[in-house]
């Protein structure tokens, strides 16, 4: 079981040979951000259709099977249901359906639908980014794009290094947790039964060794890094430097056009709606 866990990386990267996969991670990071913004500022049917087309187009180009997109949604089914219900029943406005003590308004139905759509597209959009970008590409992308923050003394490089090391050690720590759990179970520890308090107490024989082990690893790793002349971000070159290609420039143009259109349609819609009144 742990053998399989070792293969799971955060966000489930799906390797494929697509233009989306080949894009610079900075483009994808910004692109996801822009898409999320667009989801919250669009108004009107034409803009909605645009967001849908955009998403579907990117999904198709990425060659990632649709089933993988849906996987991410499974995780938030409960959130979707709660959000949907809240919006459905608690939005004031013109009554549509009424039963017992519950009232559903037209506004409620509309806002529930909008919220659900936004959530779904948000999850799918973000999944798409993690499915087409390896965790290390993401940390590299973040490091390079947040570089200007160095001027206000934010340790960008160190944070990115911490993130990529954390990613590398997650499978190892999962395996270690399993080992320690088994070792304590062999001594009669019970992680399953009992009250919440009892279960919390039972975690001590698991957490203490785990923490100690993590500290030991950190210590060893720091020594190994220093032994290989690591001394922070100063003067470091890159084996796989991020350099923009033509496709990245094209992608940026498309992204900005998309955002511009969404904003434009919002004003057009507002004016149209005003004109109607």
């Amino acid at each position: 079981m742990t053998a399989m866990l070792r293969d799971i990386t955060l966000g489930q990267y799906y390797p494929a040979d697509s233009p989306i996969h080949k894009l610079d991670p900075r483009v994808k990071l910004l692109g996801t951000l822009i898409y999320i913004i667009s989801l919250f500022i669009f108004k009107g049917i034409p803009a909605f259709v645009l967001t849908v087309i955009f998403l579907i187009a990117v999904i198709r180009i990425s060659k990632v099977p649709f089933s993988y997109m849906v996987k991410g949604l499974k995780a938030i089914v409960i959130l979707m249901i709660i959000t949907g219900l809240f919006n459905l029943f608690l939005t004031p406005g013109t009554e549509w359906v009424h039963f017992w003590i519950f009232t559903i308004t037209y506004e409620g139905a509309k806002s529930a639908a909008m919220m659900l759509i936004r959530l779904i597209f948000l999850i799918v959009g973000t999944s798409l980014m993690t499915l087409t970008t390896t965790p290390n590409q993401l940390t590299d992308g973040l490091e390079k794009s947040l570089h200007p923050l160095n001027k206000i003394h934010v340790p960008v490089h160190e944070i990115a290094m911490m993130m990529s090391i954390a990613l590398r050690f997650i499978p190892i720590l999962i395996e270690e947790t399993d080992k320690i759990m088994k070792a304590q179970m062999a001594r009669g520890a019970d992680f399953e039964s009992g009250s919440i308090l009892k279960k919390a107490k039972a975690m001590i024989p698991l957490l203490v060794p785990l923490f100690i082990s993590a500290f030991r690893r950190a210590n060893d790793l720091a020594m190994a890094m220093e032994a290989r002349c690591y001394h922070g971000g100063e003067g470091r070159t890159r084996m796989k430097p991020l350099r923009y290609q033509k496709r990245d420039h094209i992608a940026y143009v498309i992204l900005f056009l998309y955002l511009a259109l969404i904003i434009a349609l919002r004003f057009v819609w507002v004016n149209y709606a005003v004109a109607l009144l």
Partner: protein, 287 residues
Amino acid sequence: MGIIKARKLVHEYIRRDEEGNVESIQTALDKVDLDVKAGEFIAILGHNGSGKSTLAKHINAILEPSEGSLWVDGYDVSDDANVWEVRQRAGMVFQNPDNQIIASVVEEDVGFGPENVGVPTDEIWRRVEESLKAVGMLKYRHHSPNKLSGGQKQRVAIAGVMAMQPKCIVLDEPTAMLDPNGRKEVLKAVHELNRKKGVTIILITHYMEEVVEADRVYVMDNGRVVMQGLPRELFSQVDELKKYRLDVPQVTLLAHELRNSGLKGIPAGILTREELTEAISRLCQSY
């Protein structure tokens, strides 16, 4: 001057209490002298706590001497300004394979060292390929380290050090956490680096079988070098080795016991099976 030279090297671990007063002093290295020539394959033996790891950590400037001196390729490790020069010339491989691999992809980890010292991108790629080839791991370059065996991980760690083009590699008990196959793999890789690329090797271990092919062996106990010489010379002193909590390979022990039982025809310092078989054959033929 040899590539590594230590003179009266002392290292004390000082334990302080909350107020900063000295609570206890543990002398881990007690006036150690060392002379390693370029291209040699040296083994340092010792039980846990003998000071061998402490000595190793001085060679690549992770620890600083409390007294005495150590020079790596002419650079004095006590001088802070020399730290990066020393570390580039004397690379170090540690005991725990997982805790020295930084990246999630083998080739990226091997490139970590060159990246740190500002090697240009193209050159990094050249070195990474060369190093992986030298340890026989080139075909695993795109793999995640998590899927490799212990012996393979250690070889990747060695490649990572080789990519910095050091003159000398110190290996601190690199096989302690490996199974017999892994141990064989690592030792084979290390011997090849020594033979084919002329890298000076300092192997720290307590597995006697691993030192059989060394050029010279040092035995440490209590922070001091208590025995030194050729493997054969040391192996003939079975009782003394046992005194220092060490052991000898089964074959050496058997030869020793046979000698003690009166078989004078068995020479001292038998290192391999073949030697003992030969010795017994000759002895029988003499009757």
